[in-house]
Amino acid sequence: MIVEIGHYALILSLVLALVQSVVPVVGAARRDPRLMAVAGPTALFQFLFVGLAFAALTWAYVVSDFSVYNVVANSHSQKPLIFKISGVWGNHEGSMLLWVTILALFGALVALFSRNLPPTLRANVLAVQAWVGVAFLTFILLTSNPFERLDKPPFEGQDLNPILQDVGLAIHPPLLYLGYVGCSVAFAFAVAALIEGRIDAAWARWVRPWTLGAWIFLTLGIAMGSYWAYYELGWGGWWFWDPVENASLMPWLVATALLHSAIVMEKREALKVWTVLMAILAFALSLLGTFLVRSGVLTSVHAFATDPARGVFILGILTLFVGGSLALYAARASLLTQGGIFAPISREGALVLNNLFLTAACAAVLIGTLYPLLVEATTGGKISVGEPFFNLTFGPLVLPLLLLLPLGPFLAWKRGDVLAVAQRLWLAFALAIVAVAVAFYLKHGGPVLAPFGAGLAAWIMLGAIAEPMTRAKFGKEPLATSARRLFGLPRSTFGTALAHFGVGMMVLGIVSEGAWKVERILVMKPGETVELGGYGVTFEGTVPRKGPNYQDQVGKFVVSDGGTVVARLESAKRLFTARQMPTSEVALETRGLFSQIYIALGEAQDSGGWSVRMYWKPLVLLIWLGALVMSIGGFVSLSDRRLRVGAPKPARAAAALAAAE
């Protein structure tokens, strides 16, 4: 009964979404408060019902109800509980259900936290949100229904691959979906504003918190995926320019541009064209990503095995929403008038440049990802576009942005003075040069450009800190005054500083790991020692060890610094007995806060030794810690009171009404 209740709940959710798609729009057009008021409760209950459906499916997985086909195909009674649960979204149908659940969640959140919006805008936003919901709920019910039942349920499920049961693998999709689907809110705002015919600074103020929220989740989701790949996949790679990875990077780049662009739009009511377009594109790229993963058009280890019919459906949805919104955008172009004035050299100007570079970088990723498909479709030829291409295009486009990053927050609004900015940043610049020199000294013999990369990272980090310090007039006033002033700064200043500092951390991690990592691939006999990044790694031989369902050959390694032992590591070759499937267990050891030693045991050689592969990766953890700091910065900004202003205080509103009566 529970399963069928879930099934019915899904259908009800669609029905509510249908109502939510139509009634509030009519209400907004006719300024009918009752019709508009339908939006909120329907959004809430749409979420409650789809959440109920998701819960029912989860229950079916947890109790291993094999009368549900989805459970049979993707679960197994012997999976540990947590992996039964994560198995719910480890397949196409279940993950689509998660997608629409998160979509409905955002709709409900907008319904709850949008008291400060004009009622017509609120109604339209929730309606557009519902349009997306209707499209995907219909897609699910017609082509990917997780609630299909079997008349003769088997006694066991089909999926017990111990290799795919990992906590990181479990958390990565929900986090990423929160980001992807979060972009739908900005999209809804954009389309709603275009429908209403009113796009102004206030709109930009209202859309910012939602964009920031989606951006934070996207950042975390992408970083988490990258980190998981690093410690699970071989050889410590952390970004592969895999088409599906690219599909998550593109919305992130556009969302970053949108965030910054919306600030200008709010302050100056300028850059309307760009901001609204970004809001549409971010979600469009999200939808494109969904299409690429599920249509079978791309082969990737990420891609769900699915049939072309579904791909065509999603392509239809994609065309409808993207084409429709862009057509609306073009039709309402006259609304996107020139707003406030600002000089080319100003904070606004810097943000325009920021937009430009981010857009071009996104174009690089988009073109690189889609080009092979294009070539195959038009000429039938097959080409590959891999890492070398992206390094040569994405890199040079992002580099100017990184160089100019510290300058932006220092420029004044409307008209900035570059000389004044330079004066304020001279210390950061000087220290960055020192960093370059130090890097050259420490790593002479390494790649020549790398110390400059380190200098760039230092420049960004120091520049980021310099801004709040300068605003608080450190050095110009007594310490106590400065400190007080510092804490009086708006939270968004700290948010900005943190986020930009995080970027610098990431750059340092990337440069350091890329340029200064040490790799050793060799055959080691027990007792041999090899030098690795200043440490000595001794191989002590292997011992067999038994696990619950596997057999290990565990290689023991001792890491020493100078004469002292600093770590004992184990890397194993593992054989799962029931499935006769061999795997490798890698040893990771963090040294000195951010760097890591990585050891992987290979195969036994006839000579009596073992092939071993090891890495010294300096400062590698900064890559993901940087992303984490960026997210924290975003979160701090989100908590700024200015983003919540405009909520009419109830008492005053009632008094005003009474006065008007």
């Binding site: 996949l233 080409i383 295009t393 890698v586």
Partner: protein
């Protein structure tokens, strides 16, 4: 801390390949470090034909190993880097290159992003040019009426 190379094996399982070996095994490596470095560099430019989006330097597939050995063979035979790449393109087509060829056909690919940058830049510059030279009267002072209306509203706030 120990960790599983699970997805790697999953890749292997998904691709139906043999038991996971290692990319670049010690027995493949050349004795001469300079030549080995060239081999590694070239390997990162070549696609493993039986994998999804991996270079032969990273992949564990038997075919990748064969290609790695082939690259080293050609290098030892005296080919330049360019010649080794050409030899492999001859055998397998452009598909084996991870860096697309700089050809007319690929012009859109290589130039596209920079074109976007250029066009965007031009649009911005033209907007700046078209702007009135001085911040016009639009930002000028408010009229008396406007000022009065403003004061009313601010009071009611």
């Amino acid at each position: 801390m120990s960790r599983l190379a699970r997805l790697l094996a999953a890749l292997v399982v998904l691709l139906g390949l043999a038991a996971p070996a290692f990319a670049v095994k010690p027995d493949e490596m050349l004795a001469d470090p300079a030549m080995e470095a060239r081999a590694r560099a070239i390997s990162t430019e070549l696609r493993c034909l039986v994998c999804q989006n991996e270079s032969i330097d990273d992949s564990n597939a038997p075919l990748a190993r064969d290609l790695r050995l082939l690259v080293r063979e050609r290098l030892t035979a005296g080919d330049s880097d360019r010649q080794v790449l050409d030899y492999l393109v001859d055998k397998y087509g452009e598909f084996v290159l991870l860096r697309p060829v700089f050809s007319l056909r690929n012009a859109l690919l290589w130039l596209g992003p920079f074109l976007v940058l250029a066009i965007g830049g031009l649009v911005i510059v033209s907007k700046i040019r078209r702007r009135p030279a001085a911040p016009a009267a639009a930002a000028g002072g408010l009229t008396a009426d406007e000022q009065r209306a403003l004061d009313e509203l601010m009071k009611n706030g």
